[in-house]
Amino acid sequence: MKIVIDVFIAIGLFFALAGTIGMLRMPDFFCRMQSSTNIATLGILGVVIGGIIYALGFLGDPSMAVKIGIIGIFNLLANPIASHALMRGAYIHKKKPVDELEVDKLGEDLVEEDE
């Protein structure tokens, strides 16, 4: 039982570490956002699942397990909206890396609208 909890928390920590390293290494804002999604999904979910098993198996406290689960659910609901808003804001205000994109269909379409 203890091992299962440790494995889940270790998975979460590994993905959080990978996300952090990715954030530091990526060249521009958009790619950094992509890497940070790693932390917000499996990084948090791993720890949440480990916490649920700990609360149920060791503490025998189901209401604590439910609350930890709710943290995970609300995180999954709120995170994409924030990511999307940040990406769109950065794009519209033309942060520098826009020129470095390989393909930029949104930019092409916006130019067409302006003309």
Partner: protein, 184 residues
């Protein structure tokens, strides 16, 4: 503000009350017979106020669309099985990419067609895409294209193809098919 109708009020109220029971821990107390009447009644009042003000924002289409056993099973299957599998696959790929010595990225924004009509389904698909590491929905084009389809603009960290259909299949093929079964 949109006009309040009873069905959307009821749907938001039920959802809110469910979360109230979960957060206050009463859902376990109900099963063991030690629920506190005070908390339950306070929940009714709070949820009624919240539902009154927010139902118009939350519910735009059929309020009880999911109350069909088949759809509910599909919905839970998507949340518990199909989406997590996609999520884990993408997470592993992204972690390997971040940790590999040679930073192997080729970022770009692609435009992919989406054949979902329902607003809920589009929102859910856009959020699923954003939650998957490696892809983020930047914008949605609705009713502005000549062919009348909805398009998502997706920032993709490794652009494998610029072809709209092919890119769509790679990014969201499985998820879109599953969501169509749930919502349509």
């Amino acid at each position: 503000m949109k006009k309040l109708n009873a069905a959307s009020f009821a749907a938001v109220f039920i959802l809110g009350y469910l979360f109230w029971l979960l957060i206050t821990g009463q859902i376990i107390a109900i099963f063991s017979g030690t629920a506190s009447g005070q908390i339950l009644i306070a929940g009714v009042v709070v949820c009624a106020v919240v539902a009154f003000f927010s139902a118009g924002f939350f519910i735009h289409e059929k309020a009880f669309h999911l109350l069909n056993p088949m759809r509910l099973v599909m919905f839970l299957g998507y949340c518990i099985c199909i989406f997590p599998i996609e999520l884990i696959k993408a997470n592993v790929v992204m972690a390997v990419r971040a940790l590999s010595p040679k930073l192997d990225i080729k970022p770009g924004i692609v435009k992919v067609p989406v054949d979902l009509k329902s607003e809920y389904a589009q929102a859910m698909l856009a959020n699923s895409i954003t939650l998957t590491p490696g892809t983020v929905t930047v914008d949605i084009a609705e009713d502005t294209e000549e062919d009348g389809r909805t398009y998502f603009y997706i920032h993709w960290i490794e652009v494998e193809t610029e072809e709209p259909e092919e890119a769509g299949e790679k990014i969201k093929g499985t998820m879109e098919r599953a969501l169509r079964r749930v919502w349509e």
